[in-house]
């Protein structure tokens, strides 16, 4: 199944939900509506021709632009057909909430926790949305573009000397 056939299959099934498709050196990226990500995920996993059954990574991107500042990218793989695809959703700064795909790929659990920790994107329905790397009491999200490289003074307490 070629990339164009994958695109055609998604477009016939979901129509307007597929916002954009992009191909770069054979890699396919499909941007879909945020609200529909779980339905798309279930479809591409269960459809036998696609069978994207393994989640490689789920990550955030801060594009630092007025509209749809963040992106969440799901890199998924089909063990049967040995092919990758990237699913992408755009997330607003005001309401950075994305439905979780842990119901489809349980492996997304920690990836979504990391994305929450680093970007402050919340995943609604996530079973255990705690910070991954930073301490629990930390209030910021370090991989946002407006976070200073050296951090915010006194936001991470050190033990008494």
């Amino acid at each position: 199944m070629t990339n164009s056939e994958v695109i055609a299959k998604l477009k016939t099934r979901f129509g307007d939900t597929v916002l954009a498709t992009e191909e770069f050196r054979g890699d396919l990226t499909v941007t879909v509506k945020k609200e529909e990500i779980v339905r798309v995920a279930e479809f591409v996993k269960t459809e036998p021709d696609l069978a994207f059954d393994l989640i490689i990574d789920a990550l955030g991107v801060d594009m630092y632009r007025p509209e749809g500042r963040f992106e969440v990218v799901y890199i998924i793989y089909s063990l049967n057909h040995k092919r990758y695809v990237r699913l992408k959703v755009r997330v607003d700064e005001e309401n950075p909430v994305v439905p979780t795909v842990t119901g489809v790929w349980p492996g997304a659990n920690w990836h979504e926790r990391e994305t929450f920790d680093m970007f402050g994107i919340r995943f609604s329905g996530h079973p255990d949305l705690r910070r991954m790397y930073m301490p629990e009491e930390f209030e910021h999200h370090p991989l946002r573009k407006d976070f200073p490289l050296m951090g915010i003074p006194d936001s991470l307490p050190l033990p008494r000397r």
Partner: protein
Amino acid sequence: MAIESLQRDGFLTTRLDEVINWARKNSLWPMPMGISCCAIEMMATASPRFDISRFGSEVMRFTPRQCDVMIVAGTVTYKMSKVVRKIYDQMPDPKWVISMGACASSGGMFRSYSVVQGIDQFIPVDVFVAGCPPRPEALLHGLMELQNKIEKERTIGSLVRKEPVWIPEMPVAGKAGQPA
């Protein structure tokens, strides 16, 4: 004289500080706080080729309760700093700290929000060893410098080691500069 007769009988006189420090500096048991790649060089230092046991420090104990010197070998993040401090607190006095390598000493190449820019911000450090990572010889040099430092320490009269201890001058009965 009495001292000469003592020497004839196999005694010698010395200062208590000298004896205690001699014992302390030649049996420094390290706490291997190996956090990242510097720990590999620290392990090499313990190997027969470099042989840290020449300096009495071969007994790497993996419990802080039996250790004298903590070798902080690696990048200390803010999240890890509480652990390092807790282990340091569990070591019995007298205790010393060697900050091994650029990361532990200054944050090293990790000039970043998550890495402590020098562990002396939360524990007292006795010796900083430069290098990324330092060669085993450099760590041994640091250990020898620590031994020199211990040699000059006061053992009694300064029970709390890390605080500066002010020893008042002896009251002088006679004129200034003259013995009482």
